[in-house]
Assembly symmetry: C2
Homo-oligomer: 241 residues x 2
DNA sequence: CGATGACTTCGGCGGGCGCCGAAGTGTCCG
DNA sequence: CGGACACTTCGGCGCCCGCCGAAGTCATCG
């Protein structure tokens, strides 16, 4: 509406509109939930956010129209997920900046506490590994000279070879950067993201190095995973606990 | 709603609050203006945004309280600037995502047109170089093997030596990454940012490779700058026009 | 010391937006 | 084919928030 009216500053208006999509607690809760990279139904998100289905439907309409989410209708369900990796990155980075102020809330119930520590131990962050697991992998990459972090954030040639010998295919076409630093909000340090991070995570789940636990995005390293990570990256099992 | 009630989801609330700081056209205009990295007075920003001084004063209060801006009082002036490089990065990344939809507006006046093309040619982006100038530098770094971009975004050892021989000191202490990719919103491609990008930009201005023009953040490459960039990085003068 | 100027505080106004429940549409299943 | 279910549309409500101008505070300057 009011399309005919030219705004004084279209660039600022666009920025404000985009930020406005995230500037609502209900929508923010949805975006954070969707950071697990999976598709949620409208109803699940409504329950998660604690609002009426009708309210959430309108929120989803805005997020989709704004390009942050993409939707897929299946029968009577409306599945929705983050539109792409850049949308996830945007939410991550905003969330990472928030954490220092709000991360101090203590868990109130045992259930909350164990869920929280499981998330801190290992989880997915959109399409790559995060938590202590993600950090351990990133640190191992760095220590073994596979990832150069002192002058930026890039795989080394040895790093490329590592993926090759591990049998993990890297898609190097496409616009998506091969690696990228993503700020971990429990560890407060960057971990491995980008196409390589996604490929590694995908492989880890497929090879059952780790499995999803609970309904959230927490993951647990299996015994086979401990062996593989120790063998391929020299990660001590203690670093994953 | 009941007052004093703790919010249901503090993480989402924090995210929404942070985004809310940017989700206002007037505040967004201020943040974009401040992307030049300089300190502005409250009055300048009020004039720039086209609102009353009282209105803008309240906006600045929120932005400072929210940690996006830092302020410095000098006499009867209130100088305000982006709080740090991460705040600038946040605004940049949001703005970069907006651009595709809104960048199509055509300039309406000659003044606007020349100002726009000067900005597209070269400008500062917080504390580093952007526009065609920034892209040319980044491309030259990549072509000469000083910057590795195929597997991420990091300086090579040759890149470190280049800074050394050029007499540009790099501060490698501190938490700030040495290099980082920043998405250029006129070129739609990443350019060199981070501590090294800032050092290079600082040196370029000090050595008068380029000078600020106009009141905005546009910069112009001098004759000496053309020679230096050609000599040190093999950049053809045509790439800067 | 009085005038000017930059900024802040306050009261009041208006619009936008998130919320809900009720009613409507489309899909699935027994 | 009818009922259950997931989602959407609509009307209405209430509050939040950005806006302004007037008045107040404080620094600077003649």
């Amino acid at each position: 509406m009011l399309e005919g009216m030219t705004t004084r500053n279209p660039r600022a208006a666009g920025l404000a509109r985009l930020a406005g999509l995230i500037a609502d607690e209900t929508r923010a809760a949805c975006l954070l939930a969707l950071l697990d990279g999976r598709a949620w139904t409208a109803g699940e998100l409504a329950r998660h956010a604690g609002v009426a289905a009708s309210t959430l439907s309108e929120h989803l309409g805005k997020l989709v129209a704004g390009g942050l989410l993409s939707e897929e209708r299946q029968g009577r369900h409306r599945y929705v997920r983050l539109a792409d990796a850049t949308a996830a990155q945007l939410v991550e980075e905003l969330a990472a900046r928030v954490a220092p102020g709000t991360a101090v809330r203590r868990p109130r119930t045992l259930r909350e506490s164990t869920a929280g520590s499981a998330m801190a131990r290992g989880r997915t962050c959109y399409d790559h590994l995060a938590g202590r697991l993600g950090i351990a992998v990133t640190d191992a990459f760095t220590a073994r000279g596979l990832l150069r972090r002192d002058t930026g954030f890039a795989l080394t040639d040895a790093g490329l070879r590592w993926f090759d010998t591990a049998g993990i295919a890297l898609d190097r076409r496409g616009r998506r950067p091969l690696v990228r630093a993503c700020l971990d909000w429990t560890e407060r340090r960057p971990h491995l993201a980008g196409a390589a991070g996604a490929a590694l995570c995908r492989h880890a789940l497929q090879a059952r190095w780790c499995v999803r636990i609970g309904s959230e995005r927490a993951v647990k390293v299996t015994d086979a995973g401990e062996r593989a990570l120790s063998e391929l990256l020299g990660i001590a099992a203690e670093a994953l606990r």
